[in-house]
């Protein structure tokens, strides 16, 4: 490959494109017209400025928690999204031409789907070889005969476009099943406008907001019948999906509840959302679950991601799906050779946007031609696109090549061959320098009802290595924002015109899904448990530092016994005169994710529940959770006491910030209520455990445990102000159990629970109505029955009586918690916490 020597006029940033078509530069090295504004700005920036902006991109991605989950990735649950600092810029004329082709393609696919699942004239008349359908696992036979509402199978299509050496665009792949990437485009755009606010304005870039508005309106318009405001939900496979981030982000942006299969139920062939108030009709589902997994009754039976009966509900015309089921049947390069003919036949037009030259090996002559000169071709699986990487036959040794050829001969219909294309390059920031990288642009087209409209932008991706033409996010590709230059005036509508920083108010037509309430409830419980665990650990680690006085040693033993009461360390560790086993346990409790009840383990649970209710939590809350994750990273080796204390201090402050946000920023809907109830229940239960445990310990020696107990319960100051004396059991218990004005006391939690149970949602169909209110009032009665005064003369009696009382109240509290689960959450099937 010949390297040109002409440098681009970017004084501070040399850039040398290869001989391939370059998006930014003309062959003579000068900037293409539509890059001039941005290129000039870039030229003046210099390395330091670019570095600073790149850091901002990194920080925003981290703060926004943008991730792409990779299945089977050993490094963990999620991987940060990678976004290049430089956008891909597309000129106005270029975009206009491509748009016409994309709209035509989307229309064509809709017509083809209606025929494939209907009269199949295209097959009977020979426009599509039957095997292209019959051998394709995405051809879903259960869809045969379905006429979707409005005769409309698609809502959105995606299309991977590449530019050929001559400058024209060509289609590399279609995405019609459930195209992903639009949420990421949105996030990329928000970050880029933060990083290049002036350059963005000056470049006259087309805004994306109207496109999303149109998508929202189109989804609503798909509703099968007019019954007031249509109820739309976005259905996701859940937080383990690779693109879950984008599902949550988009659901929140469009303002539709994000639901999982278990949130929905089919009754009388109609889809309903299980909410706290009972079942609510659903009219439209924005589907992000792969079609094969949507209904265990009629489709793939081995999964719980779907809704039993969904296909029948859709078939009956009672719910609209965007995209519909079976749409993946046209998402295959095996159709490429036939599209020009089909287009002429169905639309009477020439196909405007050519496909990458492709041969389907299911045709005998084509296969023989391909196998006669294999080095010319890239082999790709014809179906289940994306499942396997393309095979560049020229790169294989002769044995591997014969193996590949044998696979084609064994199953010819499952393969296509494409010529190796030289993709265009675009400048990408690599280690502080601009490098040309091969580029693929994923565009999105709204393809429903009478709306056919191309998103002025999209998700561009470049290869991670130079000279590679495989560009996927799984393989470590880098994404780019895509700027389409406006012709004339820019539509001024911005993406975040009504961005809210806090949880969105619950929308009355949809209600709070029971599963989401369940996750919020456990989010409250784990946040509280984590805070209390942090406090107990801090109290004991505090006793490990300092001068090692006798009092300190006794108090450390007292703390250790409290830990044992909380079942965080085994009792034998406390009794041992050697404190090394205890230290080992204390270390595990800080950093070992496999140690039950440890900071790391609880954080994992907190994170899982937060992720599952992500569309209910504000951006700030997310930033905070991301921060907590970073703050608790400490090295395992040589863990110093000061490190542990520093980490615990930060953790407790972070969690205080979370409860502050909950208190100050969250709308008081049912979502908030269940978070609050979870927190109050957990606090009450932990204080009861600690108080009961402390009373037992006091029987032997009361000097060593009450001080730490007050510290754990954040009540030392209050106690000192009230009593000016060394802590004694009964006054401490009064403060921690009975004192209603102490926000850490059991009485305070129970009061709050009584208040919240007054406002619980009521499902008129349920026989549980009012049960939680009665149980909460029962707790209050039990607590009133505790007369600490009566022990004043015989303090020793309290050592025996208090643990029993605490256990009883604990059990009653647990029963209240279970009642919530049974009453409000249990119809959500899976509960992997």
């Amino acid at each position: 490959m010949q390297v040109q020597s002409t440098a681009v006029p970017l004084p501070a940033l040399p850039y040398r494109p290869t001989s391939a078509y370059d998006e930014m530069c003309l062959p003579d090295g000068s900037l293409r017209p539509h890059w001039q504004t941005f290129g000039r700005a870039l030229g003046q920036m210099g390395t330091t400025d670019l570095d600073a902006r790149r850091d901002t991109v990194q920080r925003l991605l981290r703060d926004h928690g943008v991730t792409y989950n990779v299945y089977g990735d050993a490094t963990g649950f999620t991987r940060p999204w990678s976004l290049d600092l430089l956008p891909l810029i597309i000129g106005a004329a270029d975009f206009k031409k491509v748009s016409e082709g994309l709209v035509q393609r989307a229309r064509l696919f809709n017509l083809m789907l209606a025929d494939i699942y209907g009269p199949q004239r295209l097959l009977k008349e020979g426009w599509i070889p039957p095997a292209v359908l019959h051998a394709n696992p995405s051809f879903i036979r259960a869809v045969q005969g379905v006429v979707p509402p409005g005769d409309n199978f698609l809502l959105l299509t995606g299309c991977d476009l590449v530019r050929l050496p001559g400058g024209s665009w060509s289609v590399l792949a279609d995405r019609t099943q459930s195209p992903s990437g639009k949420g990421y485009s949105l996030e990329n755009r928000i970050i880029m406008t933060n990083v290049f606010p002036d350059e963005f304005k000056a470049s006259k870039v087309q805004r994306l907001a109207s496109f999303y508005d149109m998508e929202r309106e189109t989804l609503r318009s798909l509703a099968p019948s007019r019954r007031g405001t249509p109820s739309v939900v976005m259905m996701t496979p859940g937080p383990y999906n690779e693109t879950y981030f984008e599902h949550a982000f988009k659901a929140r942006y469009l303002g539709f509840p994000l639901v999982e299969g278990a949130d929905l139920t089919v009754r009388d062939r109609r889809v309903h959302l299980k909410t706290l108030e009972g079942l609510r009709r659903v009219d439209v589902i924005a589907r992000r679950v792969d079609e094969a997994f949507c209904d265990p009754l009629e489709l793939n039976a081995d999964t719980w991601l779907g809704v039993p009966g969904l296909v029948e509900a859709w078939r009956s015309g009672n719910v609209a799906l965007g995209n519909g089921l079976g749409t993946g049947a046209v998402e295959t390069p095996a159709l490429f050779p036939f599209l020009p003919g089909i287009c002429r036949h169905l639309m009477g037009e020439e196909l405007k946007l050519p496909c990458a030259p492709t041969w389907w090996c299911g045709q005998q002559r084509e296969m023989e031609m391909v196998l006669a000169s294999p080095e010319r071709w890239v082999l790709k699986p014809a179906f289940a696109v994306g499942a396997r990487d393309p095979i560049f036959l020229a790169e294989l040794d002769s044995q591997k090549r014969s193996e590949a050829i044998a696979r084609v001969r064994a199953e010819p219909q499952a393969w296509v061959a494409q010529e190796v294309l030289t993709l265009s390059t675009t400048p990408t920031l690599v280690n502080g320098t601009l490098q040309p990288r091969s580029m693929v642009w994923r565009s999105f087209t709204l393809a429903a009802k009478d709306r056919y409209h191309v998103m002025p932008g999209g998700l561009s991706r470049v290869s991670a290595e130079a000279g590679r033409f495989v560009v996927t996010m799984q393989n470590g590709g880098i994404s780019k924002d895509t700027w389409v230059i406006a012709e004339g005036q820019v539509d001024q509508k911005t993406l975040l015109s009504n961005q809210t920083l806090v949880i969105r108010p619950e929308r009355p037509p949809s209600g709070v899904p029971s599963r989401v309430a369940d996750h919020l409830f456990w989010l409250g419980r784990y946040a509280e448990r984590l805070e209390q665990t942090g406090r107990v650990l801090r109290t004991i680690w505090n006793r490990l530092s300092g001068e090692g006085s006798e009092v300190q040693g006794q108090e450390m033993t007292g703390c250790a016994r409290l830990l044992a009461a909380m079942k965080l360390v085994p009792p034998e560790v406390v009794q041992s005169p050697d404190n090394r086993p205890l230290l080992t346990h204390l270390r595990s409790l800080l950093h070992d994710p496999k140690c039950e009840g440890s900071v790391r383990e609880l954080l994992g649970r907190l994170r899982y529940n937060a992720a599952s209710a992500r569309d209910r939590l504000s951006d700030d809350t997310w930033r905070l959770f991301n921060r907590i994750e970073r703050d608790v990273q400490i090295s395992r080796k040589g863990l110093a006491v000061s490190d542990a204390l520093g980490m615990l201090d930060t953790l407790i402050l972070d969690l205080a910030a979370f409860s502050g946000m909950q208190l100050e920023n969250m709308t008081r809907g049912h979502g908030w209520r269940f978070l609050e109830i979870g927190r109050r229940l957990e606090r009450s239960m932990i204080v009861l455990t600690l108080a009961g445990g402390a009373a037992k310990i006091c029987e032997q020696d009361d000097s060593a445990v009450l001080g730490p107990l007050l510290e754990i319960c954040d009540s030392s100051m209050t106690y000192r102000r009230l009593h000016f004396a060394k802590p004694r059991l009964l006054p401490v218990m009064d403060l921690l159990i009975s004192n209603e004005s102490n926000p850490r006391s059991v009485a305070y939690q129970i009061e709050a629970l009584c208040e919240e149970t007054l406002h619980l949602p009521v499902d008129p169909m349920s026989s549980f109505a009012g049960r939680e209110k009665a149980l909460a009032n029962g707790l209050k009665e039990t607590l009133r029955g505790l007369n600490l005064e009566s022990f004043a003369a015989h303090e020793r009696d309290a050592f025996k009586a208090l643990p029993v009382f605490c256990e009883r109240l604990f059990a009653a509290t647990e029963m209240l918690s279970e009642s919530f689960t049974e009453h409000y959450f249990s119809h959500a099937v899976r509960q992997p916490r």
Binding site: A131, G145, A301, P308, G309, A410, S826, V829
Partner: protein
């Protein structure tokens, strides 16, 4: 022949179930040699919703929902079926198997290329060299297709042991093929894997067998339950011809066809999803009685 058929499925749950969804393929098909003048499905408890349609393969499907707490469900399908004896073609008169195979690869949808749909691997039926190798001795060059099928049918019947304890409904073909034992479903699926690995179309047929044999005839294996066999495309002139590897026979009047598809997952007599249910105990009883008055 006229048969009166009852197919009773009882589902017992360990804990009470409130909502469940089912699809049933229990209605015998209408064919040139088979008619079903009367058919009825009764369900207890009474479904809140029932809907009948025809699926992709032309089988009748009943969709139903049950709502309200119950611990037991019963589905009874009753049918009256009349079957006319058909004469199987003379095997030597059928076309060479290679020509049948090649005719299925057409680029236009014709009866032959439509049959071609059943040459591909499906959810439960793999294809591959091991199956082709096993099938090869039956498919000598130029041999008439029906002779090949009769031979393969015979070999599967001979090489595989009928053993209800060896497999369950979910045992994969690979395992059956390795252990050489199974029940009618397994025999049929092995046969399909072999025929499809030769790039020939074959489909899975579910139905019933006559329970009580006529005087002087042997009782067929697989009666008292749903039965399964295969159907093979034998070219435009002869169309689909059935073969029952479990009984080493070409079905005539003692096999009642209910449904067909690519494999069991397309024709499962009763498929349901119950949420929140404990262990289910499923019992199936099939009774096929010749209607002697008819």
């Amino acid at each position: 022949m006229r048969y009166f058929i009852t197919h009773r499925t009882t589902c017992n749950y360990d804990s009470s179930v409130t909502v469940c969804h089912y699809i049933a393929r229990l209605m015998p098909r209408s064919l040139p040699s088979q008619v079903c003048p009367w058919h009825e499905i009764t369900i207890h408890p009474k479904p809140s919703e029932r809907a009948v349609r025809e699926d992709y393969f032309g089988n009748a499907v009943l969709y139903f929902e049950l709502e309200g707490a119950h611990q037991k469900m019963e589905v009874v399908s009753s049918s009256l079926v009349e079957i006319e004896a058909t004469k199987a073609p003379v095997p030597e008169s059928t076309p060479p198997w290679e020509s049948v195979r090649d005719a299925c690869r057409g680029y236009k949808l014709t009866p032959a290329s439509a049959a071609g749909e059943f040459t591909f691997a499906s959810r439960l039926i793999p294809t591959g060299q091991v199956y082709a190798d096993y099938a090869a001795p039956s498919f000598t060059p130029g041999r008439p297709i029906l002779s090949c099928i009769i031979d393969l049918n015979h070999r599967v019947n001979r090489d595989f042991v009928f053993d209800p304890k060896a497999t369950d409904a979910a045992t994969p073909v690979e395992k059956v093929f390795a252990q050489r034992r199974g029940v009618c479903q397994d025999f049929a699926q092995v046969m399909l894997a072999c025929i499809r690995s030769m790039s020939l179309p074959a489909r899975y047929v579910s139905g019933y067998l006559e329970t009580v044999p006529p005087p002087g005839k042997a009782r067929l294996v697989g009666a008292d339950a749903s039965h399964a066999w295969v159907s093979v495309w034998c070219g435009d002139q002869f169309g689909w011809i059935d073969a029952d590897p479990t009984n080493n026979s070409l079905p005539s009047t003692r096999h009642i066809t209910v449904a067909w598809g690519r494999d069991f997952s397309d024709v499962s007599p009763l498929r349901g999803v119950t949420l929140g249910a404990g262990v289910q105990r499923l019992t199936v009883a099939v009774d096929v009685t010749p209607d002697l008055d008819g």
